[in-house]
Every structure is written in structure tokens, then in C-alpha cells.
């Protein structure tokens, strides 16, 4: 079975960084700047190879903006 990957919904995401800090392998970082035209840096999966699909990021997100697909 293929590993699931975190997909971030930028309509909901607050750019709070909880997922960035929670990932045990630092696979997510603030690399998407200004997706909502607000100068905010939004998180994105930067290291596909290291992501284990563990779902911690999704579980920790306070606004349920991360889905594992």
C-alpha cells in the first residue's frame, strides 16, 4: 500500500507552525509564501522521502487543515 502524505488546505491553515514543530523529521517547513496574498509563510511538505505518513502533523493541527491522502 502506498504511504499517505499530508495535504494542507490553505483556506483553513492559519500558518501557526504547530505542524512544522510537531513533525519528528522536520518534513514540513514554511516555504509557501503569500498563497493567500497576506505575506504569510505557509507550511508545505518539503521532504517527501523522509515523511513516514505517521499523521502527527495532521493530529496536532488546531484547525484540522491537514489531511493525509
Amino acid at each position: 500500500m502506498e504511504k499517505k502524505k499530508p495535504i494542507i488546505n490553505y483556506k483553513e491553515c492559519m500558518a501557526c507552525g504547530i505542524c512544522v514543530q510537531a513533525c519528528p523529521f522536520s518534513c514540513i517547513d514554511f516555504v509557501k509564501i503569500n498563497v493567500n496574498k497576506d505575506k504569510k509563510a505557509y507550511p508545505e511538505l518539503i521532504n517527501n522521502g523522509r515523511c513516514t505518513g505517521c499523521g502527527i502533523c495532521s493530529k496536532e493541527c488546531p484547525v484540522e487543515a491537514i489531511e493525509l491522502r
Binding site: 492559519m14 501557526c16 507552525g17 514543530q21 523529521f25 522536520s26 503569500n34 509563510a41 488546531p62
Partner: protein
């Protein structure tokens, strides 16, 4: 499953011995985590009369109880120690990602005692902790050091790093501890303590989960709050040019207008703290010309160059502390400023812009960007440095010092070039810079008592950039807090925004019919309000909450509800306020034990409006500071004349028992 970990790490830098200590639930239930846990640990472990820069002082890095539980805007961490600046209790608050990192290493706090023979840094990950040689980093600035340590220690997880810059290595009493390349725990002289221990950095790379009693309920409130923040925006047409008008408008009504604090979020989202840089000129919040001037002096011809819109022009992305849904910070492009030494800097905060702008009559914004980065790298407190330079300029302008004293610098108001040069010399402790490098109180000792009238401080701590003649509660908190000179403790303005009365039974509700002038009275009403401000601030510092979330209102940002859900406790807001009172009383007890006379922390007369200003929005304003302090202490159950917590209060709060266990 309680939100807190229940463990601390104590590192003896003299012997290299590590000790993991379990902390009883009782401590958290009485004092929360964060500053409460810190005060408990330090009160028990620092011997009376310890030299703040000696081996007996302890330096603690503590996380907040709510950090990492799923609550939002609760990612601040605190440094605690005995302060070399005031000689009493010291703490300082900072953002970034360091707070969750402490807990992810399996601790609520990491404490240091002793002094290392050579420079070291502490490294902690899931497997444990070790001290490593940091000789190769000594002499490097905070940003360089963080870059190097991050590269060297990024294995599985990107580490969070707290580090000192060069001014802390040189034990400047106005230096702090930095993280995230430009956030700084700047107050109380905490950087000097870290420097005195030869501890260059703390590198945290743990990834242990942070547990929470009822994550579902915690998240429910996080979602509600996030939605509100998302919806709260400044209308497009609202530009920085309107801020002075808003400031003016605020001075018109004669009565207090209750405001829902959530509106502050829209300003924070747009400008960050900087919106105050022009608004505050007109409502009197911004100190100008070393607290003796007004917008009549620092007029349009000045602030046309130094204003929040101009600052935003250089901002290319926003910056958030961990778990923040507002994001008041920013990162700015500064290529081409100051010989092009630096490419970017954290957006200068309101405090820095005012301390190096209006306070010094400086209209050169580029110099402020440059100084901001110099100070962030050196780890020097911009509030203290600005106040100290303002003092030096006033001494120079009045002939109390001359070019002979300043090593040739022409220290006139607004001479940006001289100000930049002086900052560099303060950081390097070179010549006249060395005279100023420990803040105004030490500078007066070196230059002469006759200059004391120009030295603005409270108990050695230079005050934040908010004027008590506009908001007298600030004067009380500057003067009567165990950590004096702090603008972050409380104000009548914050009280208005916070809506504490929606949760706490005994605090007065603001009414539209209340005339503003009641704020200038030494009354019980005001004593209760300032006391409540201090209590809620302690709860905040025990939880890791951000002040800017707090002032959005406890009816919006549900700190009491989060605390119960995260811990599984069932406490009422009134009970939490008692915890706040206990934390504050413990910090005051620390000061009393160290021989501090609390009344010595009273803010300088000029700042209390003696004599009152002759023009500007604060014209004629004086506050009855002594009486207001007395009312504040009285409502804490401390001796109103002396500020010493009474035995009955200590017993009632159970502190005698707790500290003797």
C-alpha cells in the same frame, strides 16, 4: 495526561553533573508552569544574597503549561534568574519555537547553576543531554552562532536554539537571550547571567509528544478563536496615514469607551506592533525626547519618515511565533543599509522604533533598521539601550558631558550617525560605550549623581515605550511589580480590551458612563484593577500565552477553559486568579529576601508627570503614583506602605507550606 510534563533538568556547569527532578502535581496546581515553576525552583535553590553573576545564581528556561497542547498563541517561553539589573527577581519572555522544544525534550524547564571553566553549549534530544565545547563560537554574534549550531545539529529534527550574542559574553547588564535569529528575551539582564556562566547556547532537538488531558475541547476553542482572527481584518482603505487621526480621536471622549479586544488583532495582522508608532504620538502613549517632549517636538516632519507604513515597505514576509494565528512579526529586506552588511532583519518592533526614533528625536528610519539588526545580533535590549542613549544625549545637550567624555561623538538629538556609532561602542564596550553598556542606573554611578534627573528607570530597569501619563496603570506596574519597568504587565487599556469581568467575579465591569479622569485617582477601584492585571499576567506567564492574545479578551481567547481542558482540573477563573496572586507574591517574596526595598522601584518623577508636560496630549497630567502603588499592594494583601507580603497573605496562599515541603 496533564498538559505539563512534571519534570525538570538541572545542569551544574561547574561539575558537569545533570540531575533530572520530578516536580509534584501540587506545584503546578498552585503555581502553574512557566514563571510559576521557575519562581518555585529558584526560590528554593538560590541562596539568599547570591551574586547574580556568580555560580550560585540559577538560570532557568521554562516553557508554558499550555504550550503544545493544541491551544493557540501559547508558544512563549520564559527565562528566569536573579536579575543583575535590579538585584531581585528576574524574568523575561520570548517567542519563536523554543517553548515547545523544551517540552519535546521531556522537560517543563531546564535550569543551570555554577559556572563553566570554558564556553559550552547544552545539547538535548530524545536520548538525553550533553554539554559540548563552545569555544569556537565564543565571540560570534547570535545569528552566526544559530546558523552554525543549526547546521551542525540538524539530524532528524531541526533544532530550536537559544543563544547569547557578544554583549552578553561581555556581561552587559542590558543584554538578553536570543532565538529564531531575532527574537529576544531582553529584559532583567538575563543575557549577562548566561554570559557569566559561559553558556553560549542551548540546542534542543527532542521530538517527544506533549500530552493533553482533553485535546478535543482544547481544539474546539482553538478553532473558534482562529475563525474570529481570520475574520478580523483592517478595511483596505485604512492606511498608516490614518493612524495619527485615530490617535487624536482617542483623546476626545471624556468617558471610557469599552472596546472588544479582538479589534487589536486587525492592527497586529496588518502592521504588527508598529501601528503604535504614529497613533501613540497623538494619544500620548509614545515617550518622546527622553520622556520630556511631545508630538509638538516630534512632529510630522519627523514621523513622515518614521512610520509603520514605511516599515512595512521593507517587510517581505510575516513572522509567527509557534502556535500563533495572528503573526505580528515580519522579516524585512535591509540590503543596501549600513554598508550592506546584512541582508535582512526581523521587523523592528514598536518598542525599538520608538526607543531609537521619537525618544531620541531621530528621523532616520534606515538607521533604526540597522540598529535593530546590530542589537539583535549582539543580544542587547533595544528598550534599555534607547533609554540609556536618550539619557546620554540629554546630558550632552545640557553640558553635563562633553566631547571629551563621549570620545568625540557629537551626541545631539537626532544625530543618527552618532547614535549608530554609540550603539556599536556599547556592544563592544569601547570607551564611552562601556560607560553606557550596563544601562542608565550604572551610567549615573559612573558619570555622576547630578545626571540622575535624566536617567529614566524603575529600580534599574529602563521602562518600555508606553507613557503612564496617558495610562496611569502603567506607572503602577512599572513601579510596583517585582520586575519593574515592564510595559507588558498591565494597563487600563489592556484591562478594557481583556474583558476579565466576563469570567472573574470580583473585578469591576467597565461602563460607558465612567469618566476617564477616575484613572488618575489613588482609589480602590484602580487598586483592584491593577492587582487583577498583575494576576492575569502571571497566569499568562505560567501558561506560555502571548500578551497580544490576552488583550484580544478572555471571552475570545479562552485561557481559563484551555487550562482546565489541558490539565483535567476543574478550577474556576477566580481560582486561577488566586494562582496568579500566589505567583506574584512568591516573586515579591524573592525580592524581599534579597533585601530589596520595593518602594525603591518607583518610576522617576518625570514619568509620573512631576513636573507635568507643558504641551502635547499629556499637557498638565500628573499621577498620584505613591497612592496608586499603595492601593495596588493593599489589594494584594501586602503591606501598603512597604510592599512586603504580610504573613497572613503568605499563609492564606499556602506559600509557607509549599516552600517548606
Amino acid at each position: 495526561m496533564k498538559g505539563y510534563i512534571g519534570k525538570i533538568l538541572i545542569v551544574d556547569l561547574t561539575t558537569g553533573i545533570f540531575e533530572e527532578q520530578k516536580v509534584e502535581d501540587e506545584v503546578y496546581e498552585n503555581l502553574l508552569s512557566g514563571v510559576g515553576l521557575g519562581a518555585y525552583t529558584l526560590y528554593k535553590n538560590i541562596p539568599k544574597g547570591a551574586d547574580p553573576l556568580g555560580p550560585d545564581n540559577m538560570l532557568g528556561f521554562v516553557s508554558g503549561l499550555l504550550t503544545g497542547t493544541g491551544s493557540v498563541m501559547t508558544g512563549r517561553w520564559m527565562v528566569v534568574c536573579k536579575s543583575p539589573l535590579t538585584g531581585g527577581w528576574g524574568d523575561s519572555n520570548c517567542g519563536g519555537t523554543f517553548s515547545p522544544a523544551i517540552k519535546q525534550c521531556g522537560y517543563d524547564g531546564i535550569f543551570f547553576k555554577g559556572i563553566s571553566v570554558f564556553p559550552v553549549y547544552l545539547y538535548v534530544d530524545n536520548r538525553g543531554a550533553e554539554l559540548r565545547d563552545a569555544s569556537y563560537l565564543w565571540g560570534k554574534d547570535a545569528v552566526e552562532t544559530e546558523d552554525i549550531l543549526e547546521k551542525e545539529n540538524w539530524n532528524n529534527k531541526k533544532p530550536a536554539i537559544a543563544v547569547i550574542g557578544t554583549s552578553s559574553e561581555k556581561k552587559s547588564l542590558i543584554s538578553g537571550i536570543c532565538n529564531d535569529r531575532g527574537r529576544i528575551a531582553a529584559r532583567s539582564g538575563v543575557g549577562a547571567v548566561m554570559g557569566s556562566k559561559r553558556l553560549k547556547a542551548v540546542v534542543l532537538a527532542g521530538s517527544k509528544p506533549i500530552k493533553c488531558h482533553d485535546p478535543k475541547t482544547v481544539k474546539k476553542y482553538s478553532k473558534e478563536f482562529s475563525k474570529k482572527i481570520k475574520k478580523t481584518n483592517m478595511p483596505q482603505i485604512m492606511t498608516g496615514r490614518m493612524l495619527p487621526l485615530m490617535g487624536k480621536a482617542l483623546t476626545i471622549p471624556k468617558n471610557i469607551i469599552p472596546i472588544d479586544g479582538i479589534v487589536s488583532a486587525s492592527m497586529m495582522k496588518k502592521w504588527g506592533t508598529g501601528f503604535g508608532n504614529t497613533m501613540g504620538m497623538y494619544n500620548g502613549d509614545d515617550p518622546i525626547k527622553n520622556w520630556a517632549g511631545s508630538v509638538v517636538d516630534y512632529d510630522k516632519s519627523y514621523y513622515n519618515n518614521v512610520n509603520p507604513d514605511k516599515v512595512l515597505k521593507r517587510e517581505y514576509k510575516k513572522y509567527h511565533c509557534y502556535s500563533c494565528v495572528i503573526g505580528c512579526g515580519g522579516v524585512c529586506d535591509i540590503k543596501g543599509i549600513g554598508n550592506g552588511e546584512f541582508t535582512h532583519t526581523h521587523k523592528p518592533e514598536y518598542e525599538t522604533v520608538n526607543a531609537f526614533g521619537a525618544l531620541l528625536m531621530n528621523k532616520d528610519l534606515e538607521s533604526i533598521f540597522y540598529i535593530n539588526e546590530l542589537l539583535n545580533r549582539a543580544g542587547m535590549d533595544s528598550i534599555s539601550a534607547g533609554n540609556t542613549i536618550a539619557y546620554a544625549i540629554e546630558c550632552y545637550e545640557n553640558g553635563l558631558i562633553t566631547k571629551d567624555d563621549t570620545d568625540g561623538l557629537e551626541l545631539t538629538w537626532g544625530n543618527a550617525e552618532a547614535i549608530v556609532e554609540l550603539v556599536k561602542r556599547m556592544i563592544a564596550r569601547q570607551g564611552f560605550g562601556d560607560v553606557l553598556a550596563d544601562g542608565v542606573k550604572v551610567a549615573v554611578k559612573k558619570i555622576g549623581e547630578e545626571t540622575s534627573k535624566y536617567a529614566m528607570h524603575a529600580g534599574g530597569q529602563e521602562p518600555g515605550m508606553h507613557d503612564p501619563r496617558m495610562d496611569p496603570a502603567l506607572g503602577v506596574h512599572y513601579s510596583a511589580d517585582p520586575t519593574p519597568g515592564r510595559h507588558t504587565v498591565g494597563a487600563f487599556g489592556y484591562y478594557n480590551y481583556m474583558h476579565l469581568w466576563t469570567k472573574v467575579s470580583w473585578v469591576p465591569k467597565l461602563k460607558l458612563s465612567t469618566p476617564k479622569k477616575v484613572e488618575f485617582e489613588a482609589s480602590d477601584r484602580n487598586g483592584i484593577i491593577t492587582m487583577a492585571n498583575s494576576c492575569i499576567k502571571q497566569i499568562l506567564d505560567g501558561s506560555g500565552g502571548c500578551l497580544f492574545a490576552m488583550i484580544s479578551g478572555v471571552h475570545n481567547w479562552k485561557i481559563f477553559e484551555w487550562l482546565n481542558a489541558a490539565t483535567g482540573w476543574d478550577k474556576t477563573p477566580d481560582e486561577y486568579m488566586i494562582i496568579g496572586k500566589r505567583m506574584q507574591t512568591l516573586r515579591q517574596m524573592f525580592n524581599i529576601r534579597e533585601g530589596i526595598n520595593p518602594i525603591d522601584f518607583k518610576i522617576k518623577d518625570r514619568i509620573a508627570g512631576r513636573p507635568p508636560l507643558k504641551e502635547g496630549p499629556l499637557k498638565g497630567k500628573t499621577l498620584p503614583i505613591e497612592g496608586m502603588i499603595q492601593k495596588h499592594w493593599e489589594h494584594f494583601g501586602w503591606n501598603p506602605e512597604t510592599g512586603v507580603p504580610t504573613e497572613e497573605t503568605i499563609e492564606e496562599l499556602g506559600l509557607d507550606e509549599l516552600l517548606n515541603n
